[in-house]
């Protein structure tokens, strides 16, 4: 075996040159002849019956080539729960719900045409809050919920607004609670936020005169786009072709379908013409998808030693108007509700509630940042109340090999070491309990865990083939929307076949007609699933190369090895360069053997089992877990409430670092995105009009260069994953999960106030501090002693 050359090395991005030169084409960069532009008519009401849609005037307007609206497209679609039509048919469910769309020669003509579409609405009472949504007698967002088609492992409740409910029942929660020496209860909230990919959503479609549908789109899952489009329009998969060029960020928001059905609906109305639907930044915020809101109530019972014995988790998810991916977030949050901890007795309910807000969907972490916001603060809260160091308290309760998750899955030896991650980050920011303390400066820690949330049969496949000069082409359909999939694919292929990584070309902008199947690029599953498929395909390539070379050299294949772009025979010192083998080998007498070398292979996670429908117990509900932790250091401005995050240290057990530069990038990027949701992001919906009031980058701020902590560190533990490619496991989402909770815990450490509702804005901190100081003054006044200097003490629940 030769030493590793590609995997583990800081290989430059294989798509990098295209991206730094401006050569890389994203969907909106593609040129189409006589492209039609689209304006979407969107509901101005959060909840209303649609009495009628009249499009005749719009259809006659200058430049208008096609108009499409609700009742023409009655079929429902949805990744797990089919609850959505292309356009609203009988009712609109959020401000922005598409009602009709107009395609015209210019964007201005499309907008003018859209203004002529007349819609009659009968406003209905909207609901915006989950508590309202689950109350008896609440107006129903989906009265037809009971008639929708749904996968067996999602459980909507007909006649209510509950689109999924997952229950965790482990051990004897009630008994354990009674036996607990102390019990703590807290409520935490997370608002809806938006992904804010720098590239807004855009899709282009054409239906040709033969009826074949072709789509170019900024999406994370070309095959799922195809699959769901077929469901929307009753098409055969054979007649729909989806291309995904470079994608300018997605973070979950481009999973599944978004604008594609609107583009196809219009394209069907003007065969032969390309139709482009593009949202502007304003629409991106409320008319695509957002992250779900969460209200989490946690009850924790501990024994005398500080071990958690009873844990209750009640999650109410604000799913918005449609279930989308949200119903599966509800599920994932349920079976991960114990976080990185071992809780022997658990009562968990994760409930998804429809409301008349923008559509909740997948967002980096798939519910995990939200539940960790609650759980990791609760753990801190309990530790502080018990007077136990928060690091020690976590170690005492941490999951690890041989311990059981909330679903009763006993973790294997290869599960990953959250304990090591905790120790490393605690050491990195100096969380020693005996440390010197400065006023209004604090340190906090939070753990993270996540498994891929996907159907048990979510598969990936790859094709590998050679060009004449032995350039190795790797065809994948996982999407590299920044995380570096194309590069790690090249590394795996180069490593497995011992060829220079520079000779590998990853064809990473898939075309469903030509590229191998892949379920979706979500769930931090791609390096793992694509990687495994590549290693399998490489094995077959190797077999073919060796067989041909063996014949050429007249030696048994077993004596041959791939070595630095050749097939080599160590015993005789002879070798054949791949370029002479990949298209077949020709002997001096002219006869040839072998043939173009190529292989395809796939990977499907093995041995996954459904959850028990009543208790969610399951010995192997997910393919793998990735554990990690972050610790942060903050300083707080006592008078303004401004929190400055000075340092964030992250550590994850990733199994095997495939590319140090890329994984650091994932880590820093996730931390800063987490800092955004932690300290500044919230999509604010006016609860009288239902409108998103801060739907612009002027009003909705994401972190800029100047908001980044001065020090970011990233460390990795490498406990190999048995079924991971070269031991690797997923990391893309995990980096964003613990940051807000770690900041909140550091804030508490700094000044004794706890913020329960994201985001941690300066004004909230200022109010909490003022409240706390007032309380202290009152207590001091009552005791007849002067107010104590502010110090870390007491929580504001």
């Amino acid at each position: 075996m030769s030493a590793p050359r590609a995997v583990g090395r800081e290989v430059e991005r294989v798509d990098g040159v295209e991206k730094v030169t401006g050569a890389a084409r994203y969907t909106a960069d593609l040129k189409f002849p006589r492209l039609l532009h689209v304006a979407v008519v969107r509901s101005p009401h959060p909840h209303a019956r649609v009495l009628g849609v009249r499009t005749e005037r719009a259809a006659r307007a200058a430049g208008v080539r096609a108009v499409a609206s609700g009742r023409d497209f009655p079929l429902h679609t949805g990744i797990y729960l089919k609850d959505q039509t292309v356009f609203a048919t009988d009712r609109v469910r959020f401000v922005g719900d598409p009602v009709a769309a107009v395609a015209a020669e210019t964007p201005e003509e499309a907008a003018a045409g859209a203004a002529l579409v007349e819609v009659d609405y009968e406003p209905l009472r909207p609901i915006f809050d989950v508590e309202e949504g689950i109350a008896d007698g609440a107006p129903l967002v989906h009265p037809d919920l009971g008639r929708y088609e749904v996968v067996p492992w999602i459980q909507p409740k007909a006649g209510t607004n509950v689109c999924n409910h997952l229950k965790i029942r482990k051990g004897d929660y009630e008994g354990a609670l009674r036996r607990s020496s102390r019990v703590f209860e807290n409520v935490f909230r997370v608002p809806q936020v938006q992904h804010v990919p720098l590239e807004p959503h855009v899709s282009v479609a054409r239906v040709d005169l033969a009826g074949k549908v072709e789509v170019h789109t900024s999406a994370q899952s070309p095959f799922t786009v195809r699959h769901l489009l077929c469901a929307c329009f009753g098409l055969s998969h054979g007649d729909v072709r989806v291309h995904v060029p470079y994608v300018g960020g997605g973070f979950g928001g481009k999973a599944g379908i978004n604008l594609e059905p609107i583009a196809v609906a219009l394209a069907k109305r003007c065969p032969g013409r390309w139709v482009r639907v593009m949202v502007d930044r304003h629409e991106e915020f409320f008319a695509t998808v957002v992250r779900q809101g969460l209200t989490a109530t946690l009850v924790t019972g501990v024994d005398r030693h500080g071990k958690v014995q009873a844990q209750k988790m009640h999650y109410l998810w604000n799913c918005g108007a449609y279930g989308g991916y949200g119903v599966n977030i509800v599920r994932a949050a349920g079976y991960t509700c114990g976080g990185a901890y071992e809780f022997p007795n658990v009562w968990g309910d994760s409930i998804g509630v429809y409301t008349n807000r923008p559509v909740g969907s997948a967002y980096r972490g798939f519910g995990m940042q939200e539940i960790h916001w609650a759980l990791e603060q609760q753990m801190d809260f309990v530790a502080c109340e018990l007077g136990i160091d928060p690091v020690e308290f976590r170690l005492l309760n941490a999951l690890g090999a041989g311990k059981a998750t909330v679903t009763g899955q006993v973790l294997d030896e290869d599960a990953g070491r959250v304990d090591l991650c905790i120790r490393k980050v605690a050491a990195e920011v100096g969380m020693d309990p005996a440390r010197q303390r400065r006023p209004y400066s604090g340190k906090g820690i939070a753990c993270a865990v996540k498994a891929p949330a996907m159907p048990n049969d979510a598969a990936s496949s790859v094709v590998m083939k050679f060009a004449e000069d032995a350039t190795l082409e790797v065809l994948i359909s996982g999407i590299d929307y920044g995380q570096g999939l194309m590069t790690v694919a090249a590394q795996f292929a180069a490593e497995a076949l011992d060829v220079p990584v520079e000779t590998v070309r990853v064809r990473g902008c898939p075309d469903t007609d030509l590229s191998p199947y892949d379920w979706q690029t979500v769930a931090s599953r791609q390096t793992w699933a694509t990687g495994n498929a590549i290693l399998r395909a490489a094995e077959e390539i190797r077999r073919q190369l060796l067989a041909t070379a063996a014949e050429a050299l007249g030696v048994p294949p077993g004596e041959l090895a791939l070595a630095r772009g050749t097939v080599a025979h160590a015993a005789s010192g002879r070798s054949i360069p791949l370029a002479r083998l990949v298209m077949g080998y020709q002997f001096p007498d002219g006869h040839a053997i072998g043939g173009p070398v190529s292989a395809s292979a796939s990977y499907l996670p093995e041995g996954l089992l459904f959850l028990d429908p009543e208790t969610s117990q399951s010995a192997k509900p997910v393919a793998k877990w990735t554990f990690g932790a972050q610790a942060v250091e903050v300083s707080v401005d006592r008078e303004t409430g401004q929190v400055t995050v000075e340092k964030v240290s992250a550590c994850y057990d990733v199994g095997h670092v495939i590319n140090p530069g890329l994984i650091r990038g994932q880590t820093y990027g996730g931390i800063v995105q987490g800092l955004g949701t932690g300290t500044m992001e919230e999509l604010i919906v006016d609860t009288t009009t239902g409108r998103a009031v801060n739907a612009s980058l002027m009003d909705y701020k994401i972190p800029s260069f100047e908001d980044v902590p001065a020090v970011l560190t990233a460390e990795f533990v490498e406990t190999p994953q048995r079924d991971g490619p070269m031991g690797a496991r997923g990391i893309g989402e995990h980096t964003m999960i613990p940051t807000p909770a770690a900041i909140a815990n550091a804030l508490f450490d700094a000044c004794g106030v706890r913020i329960h509702d994201l985001p941690i804005t300066a004004e909230k901190v200022w109010r909490a501090l003022r409240e706390k100081e007032r309380g202290e003054r009152e207590r001091a006044g009552a005791a007849g002693v002067p107010a104590a200097a502010p110090a870390a003490s007491g929580a504001i629940a």
Binding site: H195, E199, E502, G554, A579, G669, V672, Q673, F705, E706
Partner: protein, 182 residues
């Protein structure tokens, strides 16, 4: 109303007829097919549309094409020459400062302007100068490193554009010892 304008884009003179309301960004992307300059917000907030206008970094979404009549425009496409990369482009690759790449052209253009004004920017100076360029992927850390590394390279006289590394290593140049049986 339509107007005819002439401007120099990446060294070439271009004449175009544009609507008054057309932004420089639209002209570059739709009219001249220079799609390296991106549209992320159309409100001056994200910086993905950054170009140099008479040498100054500007948000092309906030400039009307007619305002650029007679001006000199440099886009990301104008930074690499004859397949040779600008030192900033090289540094972005070497420091893993690129992820989805959508912000990258704008970042690099802003950084070109910064390094011309300040050949040795501190970390803070980089953050300040680039704070009009948003990136949702990288967390900015590696971009700061890339810009400072490029500054050092330029100061050391390594300013000459370099070829993209991938193109250097052609598969045909594999280090092999060929020995074929007779």
């Amino acid at each position: 109303m339509r107007k005819t304008i002439t401007l120099e884009v990446n060294g070439a003179s271009e004449t175009a007829e544009v609507e008054v309301g057309t932004t420089l960004l639209r002209l570059l992307r739709d009219g001249l097919d220079l799609t390296g300059t991106k549209e992320g917000c159309n409100e001056g907030e994200c910086g993905s549309c950054m170009v140099l206008l008479d040498g100054r970094p500007v948000n092309a979404c906030l400039v009307l094409a007619v305002e650029a009549d007679g001006a000199r425009v440099t886009t990301v496409e104008g930074l690499s020459r004859d397949g040779l990369l600008h030192p900033l482009q090289r540094a972005f690759l070497a420091h893993a400062a690129v992820q989805c790449g959508f912000c990258t052209p704008g970042m690099i253009v802003s950084a070109v302007a910064l390094l011309r004004d300040d050949p040795d920017p501190s970390e803070d100076a980089v953050r300040r100068a680039l704070s009009g360029n948003l990136c949702r992927c990288t967390g900015y850390r590696q971009i700061v490193d890339a810009v400072r590394a490029a500054a050092a390279a330029l100061r050391a006289g390594e300013g000459a554009p370099e070829p993209p590394r991938r193109a250097e290593t052609r598969p045909t140049a594999l280090p092999v010892r060929e020995e074929v049986p007779a």
